[in-house]
């Protein structure tokens, strides 16, 4: 029995557009097969990534089927809930046609498959579509109304320790800094309110760590345990939302909206973030927090489709740092071509809407286009800033980037080249200046290329050269390169196994330049190197796979940190993570650095689905870390294959933490 969770009739009629589909085959009432299909004729590789593989890049590799679609079939249980995206060359692609969706925590969505809902016919597919018959089974895929409520809760405890003295760092040991409880609860409510109108509500009731005992660097204890327990008991009894949510018992994050065929309206505040906008090259809107709130209007589905033209228009008044502001855009798309115009403004007024434009002191005008011509992909984006307090200077108040790309047959060569100019005052009010307009006062040439000389080998390099415009006479050009390789070892080992490796390096041409602040006395530094080895089914039935990460962090002035982290995957989304690290001191460092060094780091963590179906099989996860922390607050959280935060991260610190997470 095959039931189609997402029918994309419209896309099938529009050849050339992206197409995605999920099919579920019930094998025996307990086990199912889920087949993901995605159409992208230009992609040279595609994966499906998500809770099915613990979000391990590059995901489960998809292969082209007889219809030219990317396809991947996985095994799952009838009780599974799977979140996923498609992944290609660093791009995370939300499946617009997914059976359901869920906030991904980064201002966008993951596709969501609730297998049981689909098998029972609860999940609607395309609103308004006719019932589908597959393999002789009629599938009801339209519903006049579906409202669903979901909740995610995390509770746990965290204790932080010092492993060295605050002043005399040669004194070692283990002393508690703070110990306390952490809790987070989010509510999600969404669905079809009435035909043609969907609603959603995402809110965070509380998200807080409450220390029950804490001492500062001088040994002063505040709060004491008896004070905290009294506050805890009375707070939870009398006003738990106030106790856990803070003095102002408001939701820490709230995003809600409605969508009709003509208009989408969304509003958010607190830590809620509007979905980012990246129409061409840059994030002209990032998904940063909306602490002061926003109200967003977008065209509804009926006004977006005009024959082959897809039109996206947005207007979003908002408030940042107390002042009124606004952004908006118009984006037109025909097949693979896109044209975008984005406008943003910030005013000095905080309340007087009528005086908004009278008091505007910063405005962004950004435009971009992308298309393909004779097999060459073309991107172009530009930005002009206007500041009311200074006369307009096009050289300093503008930025622009042009990029060309070409992908050869069978990935024998994929190459792109880009030039970017950034004026000394160029900035985006709501955009990502680091990845978008870049560092002010610079010009950059960036090149990426990769090749697959063998079916199982991919070699590539990302590189760029950045010129500081004002220091041209000093040859102020800094080069960056990241060579990498990916080797599929299945042909040699008989099991799925992949080796990835990379290095990062900088070279500075500036007269007299050194990387002494990063530990190199010369103009060159090999700052980072890493390797990852994935091996499937190392012990069948016990571990479904093991990831091993080896990383060397050579970016710090006085220390080098080498880490080795292994992550053993358990059946059912669990894992055991073990890491160790060696922190060595450079010869050039002061003697006091050596005597105070914490040479060895250690970490043990993991996650486990608890066998309590009444509680929807909650996830227990936690870690103990000592002078290193490859996990963040959850599972391992590496920057590429090295621990994030540099050699100093968790140097002299330790943590013991455990959390329980469950979702309804």
């Amino acid at each position: 029995m095959i039931r189609r969770a997402s029918l994309t009739t419209l896309c099938l009629l529009m050849a050339g557009l992206l197409f995605a589909e999920v099919r579920i085959k019930d094998l025996d009432g307990t086990n199912v097969e889920i087949t993901f299909t995605y159409k992208d004729d230009k992609a040279s590789e595609m994966g499906v990534i998500g809770s099915l593989d613990n979000w391990t890049v590059p995901g489960e590799a998809m292969e082209k089927n007889a219809d030219g679609l990317w396809e991947k079939t996985i095994k799952a249980l009838a009780t599974d809930e799977i979140q996923y995206k498609f992944y290609s060359k660093g791009s995370w692609i939300f499946d617009e046609k997914s059976p359901d969706k869920k906030d991904d925590g980064y201002g966008a969505f993951n596709g969501l498959i609730v297998v049981a809902d689909i098998l029972s016919g609860v999940t609607p597919a395309v609103p308004g579509a006719a019932p589908v018959t597959v393999a002789g089974v009629a599938v009801v895929n339209t519903y006049p109304s579906k409202l669903s409520f979901g909740m995610t809760a995390v509770v746990g405890s965290k204790t932080t320790f010092a492993t060295q003295g605050m002043v005399d760092k040669t004194v070692k040991g283990l002393e508690t800094d703070t110990t306390g409880l952490y809790g987070r609860m989010t509510w999600n409510f969404n669905g079809t309110l009435m035909p043609g109108m969907t609603v959603f509500f995402n809110g965070t009731a509380f998200d807080k760590y409450v220390p029950l005992w804490q001492q500062d660097s001088t040994g002063l204890v505040s709060p004491t345990l008896d004070q905290s327990v009294a506050a805890l008991v009375s707070g939870l009894l009398a006003n738990p939302i106030n106790y856990l949510g803070g003095a102002n018992p408001s939701l820490t994050s709230l995003k809600t909206g409605i969508e009709t065929p003509l208009l989408k309206i969304e509003t958010g505040t607190g830590q809620a973030a509007p979905t980012k906008h990246n129409p061409v090259l840059w994030d002209t809107l990032t998904s940063t927090n909306a602490n002061d709130g926003y109200l967003r209007f977008d065209l509804g589905s009926d006004l977006r489709k005009w024959g082959p033209l897809t039109l996206d228009a947005n207007l979003t008044p908002n408030r940042i740092q107390g002042n009124l502001a606004a952004f908006g855009w118009i984006t037109a798309n025909v097949e693979s071509s896109t044209v975008d115009f984005t406008y943003a403004a910030k005013s000095a007024t905080s309340t007087d809407v009528a005086a908004f434009f009278d008091k505007v002191y910063a405005q962004d005008f950004a435009a971009g286009v992308k298309s393909s011509l004779f097999g060459i992909d073309l991107w172009a984006q530009g930005l002009v800033n206007v500041f009311s307090e200074s006369p307009f200077d096009p050289l300093t108040q503008s930025a622009g980037e042009v990029k060309l790309g070409w992908n050869g047959p069978k990935d024998i060569l994929d190459v792109s080249a880009a030039y970017r100019y950034t004026g000394t005052m160029a900035t985006m009010i709501f955009g990502n200046n680091n990845d978008g307009t870049g560092t002010q006062g610079t010009q950059r040439v960036a090149v990426t290329l990769f090749s697959k000389p063998l079916d199982n080998l991919k070699l590539g390099v990302d590189g760029n050269g950045v010129l500081t415009t004002a220091k041209l006479a000093q040859n102020a050009v800094e080069f960056y390169a990241k060579p990498y390789l990916e080797l599929q070892l299945a042909p040699y080992l008989g099991k799925t196994a992949t080796l990835n490796a990379y290095a990062k390096m900088n070279y500075n041409l500036t007269d007299g330049a050194t990387y002494v602040e990063k530990g190199s006395a010369g103009p060159f530094i090999l700052g980072e190197g890493g390797a990852k080895f994935w091996f499937a089914d190392p012990i069948p039935g016990v571990f479904t796979g093991v990831d091993t990460f080896l990383g060397v962090n050579n970016w710090d002035k006085t220390k080098v940190f080498t880490s080795l982290v292994t992550s053993w995957k358990l059946p059912g989304n669990g894992e055991i993570d073990v890491g160790t690290g060696l922190r060595t001191v450079r010869d050039t460092a002061a003697a006091s650095v050596s005597t105070a060094n914490n040479a060895v780091g250690f970490a043990l963590g993991g996650s486990l689905k608890l066998p309590f179906p009444e509680l929807k099989s909650p996830l227990l996860y936690g870690a103990f870390t000592w002078n290193m922390d490859p996990f963040g607050e959850g599972y391992y959280s590496l920057s590429d294959y090295i621990t994030s935060g540099g050699a100093a991260q968790s140097d002299g610190k330790s943590q013991l933490r455990a959390f329980l997470k469950w979702e309804f």
């Binding site: 509770v155 746990g156 405890s157 204790t159 320790f161 010092a162 492993t163 060295q164 003295g165 605050m166 002043v167 005399d168 004194v171 040991g173 283990l174 002393e175 508690t176 800094d177 110990t179 409880l181 029950l212 005992w213 001492q215 500062d216 660097s217 001088t218 040994g219 002063l220 204890v221 345990l225 940042i320 740092q321 107390g322 002042n323 910030k346 000095a348 002191y361 910063a362 500041f387 307090e389 200074s390 000394t424 005052m425 900035t427 009010i429 200046n433 680091n434 560092t439 002010q440 006062g441 309590f612 009444e614 509680l615 936690g622 013991l656 933490r657 455990a658 329980l660």
Partner: protein, 162 residues
């Protein structure tokens, strides 16, 4: 169900107890304090830091930025005006006592136009890119007040304790 509830309560209690029992001694928590009597910035360009512009010193010692409270922007304790010679000086009296091991700080426009008027560790006169200032506590004690001095050159800032 009862045993499961006991299990959940049990591990939370166990971890908290472990955290407390490991060691609550003060051998490692042997810091004293440092007193900051003055924050000074010199070499500010007249554009956009025109004379008379009020700038606010904000800091974070691990418990959040003080500018998260709107009252910081109106509290004279943290605010001073740019002088015609391009300097900006804030005196703390009594001195600001710092007992955390590090101080994270920045200077921001009191008019909240800090997308264009913000001074961080390395960057001045630009939007919010660049790291916030970060200084180690020198543990010199409250009897030895220190000054934090930043020198602006172009768009770069060099900060030192004095």
């Amino acid at each position: 169900m009862k045993s499961k509830t006991h299990f959940l309560a049990g591990w939370a209690t166990l971890l908290l107890t472990l955290g407390l029992l490991t060691s609550c001694d003060h051998v490692l928590h042997n810091g004293t304090s440092m007193a900051i009597s003055q924050v000074k910035l010199i070499g500010l360009p007249s554009s956009p830091y025109a004379a008379g512009t009020s700038m606010v010193f904000s800091y974070n010692t691990g418990n959040g930025w003080i500018h998260d409270q709107d009252s910081t922007f109106t509290d004279a304790k943290y605010s001073a005006k740019v002088l015609a010679d391009g300097s900006w000086t804030l005196n703390f009296s009594p001195a600001l006592l710092l007992t955390a091991s590090q101080l994270q700080y920045l200077l921001i426009d009191a008019g909240k136009n800090w997308n264009t008027m913000k001074i961080t560790k390395k960057i001045s006169g630009q939007s919010g890119i660049g790291d916030d200032g970060l200084m180690d506590n020198l543990w010199s004690g409250a009897s030895a007040p220190t000054s934090l001095v930043g020198t602006v050159s172009g768009s770069d800032v060099t900060w030192v304790w004095q």
